[in-house]
Symmetry: C2
Subunit: 342 residues, 2 copies
Amino acid sequence: MPIIAVDANGADLGPAEVAAGATAAARQGVRVLLFGPAAEMGNAGVGVEVIDAPLSIAKEANPAAAARAHPESSIVRAAKAVAAGDADALVSAGATGAALAAGLFNIKRDRGILRPALAAQIPVPGAPVTLVDVGANTEVRAEHLVQFAFMGVALASVVHGVDNPRVALLSVGEESTRGTQLVLDVHARLSSTTELNFVGNIEGHALTEGRADVVVTDGFTGNVTLKVMEGVSSKMLAELRDIATSTRRARYGGALMRPALRAFRDEISPETEGGAYLLGLRKIGVVGHGRFTAVGFESAILLAARGVSGDVVGRTHDALERAGVLRKLGPAPSESSSTVSA
Amino acid sequence: MPIIAVDANGADLGPAEVAAGATAAARQGVRVLLFGPAAEMGNAGVGVEVIDAPLSIAKEANPAAAARAHPESSIVRAAKAVAAGDADALVSAGATGAALAAGLFNIKRDRGILRPALAAQIPVPGAPVTLVDVGANTEVRAEHLVQFAFMGVALASVVHGVDNPRVALLSVGEESTRGTQLVLDVHARLSSTTELNFVGNIEGHALTEGRADVVVTDGFTGNVTLKVMEGVSSKMLAELRDIATSTRRARYGGALMRPALRAFRDEISPETEGGAYLLGLRKIGVVGHGRFTAVGFESAILLAARGVSGDVVGRTHDALERAGVLRKLGPAPSESSSTVSA
């Protein structure tokens, strides 16, 4: 039974919403250590242990400095619980920078990993895609993106059961000559890596066309991409609701289509997936959306538990080792604040 | 009556599709000079003059080199017609790099402009957004993005009638401390520019939330963003069609909703808008999608004609001059191939 350390601070709807999600997840056989303001979280259910940690650094402008300065903050205490072995995985209710800093300083990077990355499963109907990085690293070098590709592949095969995942590089054209200098460099490296099923560059529209199982990009582009996708699908569902009440005829039609539309809405909702995996630390993390309701936080905790059961960390490490792309020598470089600027 | 020089090469459906769009546009009072393979374009209608220019450089890996090496290519001949004053605007059927190179070398940059940029109007229902740059410049400096902001504002006010347009910078968080170093620099500059109604950073999901009239970003992120938006909306419409035939009940519902859905589909179709304005040259350009049908090419030509009638070039120049962000001194730098790598 996996034990998940959850930071209840950072959610738009407040810590009680995270607590409700934790209670729902615990009903499905996960144990939760819930770090946050006990006074605001109400009575947690069976399987949820509330640890009073009211201080939040979720909104700090410099999360790395805040994580160092505030060891008593909820996210740092949750990360320390994972580092100490009291929990198997870390879940954050939305503050990527704080989770990354707390994870780096306490759980630490896995051996040979240059940078942790956030990998999100995009729920494209019939053609789900693992997008990495969706926001851990706003500025990266080519060797980082090569590692991200292997992390994504490990995730796609281990958690999502994809056989020999197709890896693509996000760019502004399919040709190897298209993109920034970084993209050209990464394209060349991925092309020469025989351990990957690299299918080349893809453009933005191809993300929803089932052309790749894993799509690699820097954390700036990936974060914008993920949020644009969520924004467009949410806006379209809102427009459909308007259309379905615009005329009497459309109202009848909307009522008849409602059950099928509701299933579709749930299928593509970010709350169903539960957020993004934080990969590259010695234990797995999950970063949810600050905008989640309890349903999303429940999914995030269950996603973390699946990562633990599937040994995503160990299997990612093995894949990177087999491919020979782990950093080889010397001590780990110090964790600079630039690493966690996202 | 504006005269538009159109390159018929580069369209996925072939030059005849562009010719059909040109004929439809000419019926609405635009004159078209159509450069492409005469043998493949059939009989053009009244108001369309076909100039036989079969050579296409639309698929060249290095468009700048190709535009220099092939003065007889269709896009270069079209650009030369604009430069010579035989036409008022340039329309390309999809090859951004070739159009940019041919435009830079022949129509030339407007005085004081550092880089041309592509500005697309995103048809968000109830809250259209001008996104700039959507692909002319994959690598940029802060001063380029500042000019792009003013170009976008000029376009939003002149062509789209927005009063005092709200300008936002695309990033991974709303705080001024979030994003790449480039984004931080641009944020600081736009914040201190009193001539702009700068509303700060916005994230990807806010593009569809009516939070800004103009959104500024580099050409790599902008191109990915635009294509992701098109991909997601197209995939969702396809899913809706599937849902509307999935059960007998949904089929009845779908039939009742069809007229309203069709209007919505047309409203958000890229073909309705007609592509992106190429701003920063001495004459205006429009770059359509290679995937357009005749409907899209008709829109592209009419979009170019509106740009001519509204004097977008002159009014953009005036806005940049008033704001004091035109490059001040010296001759124009030579047009390097890196400028047109996108």
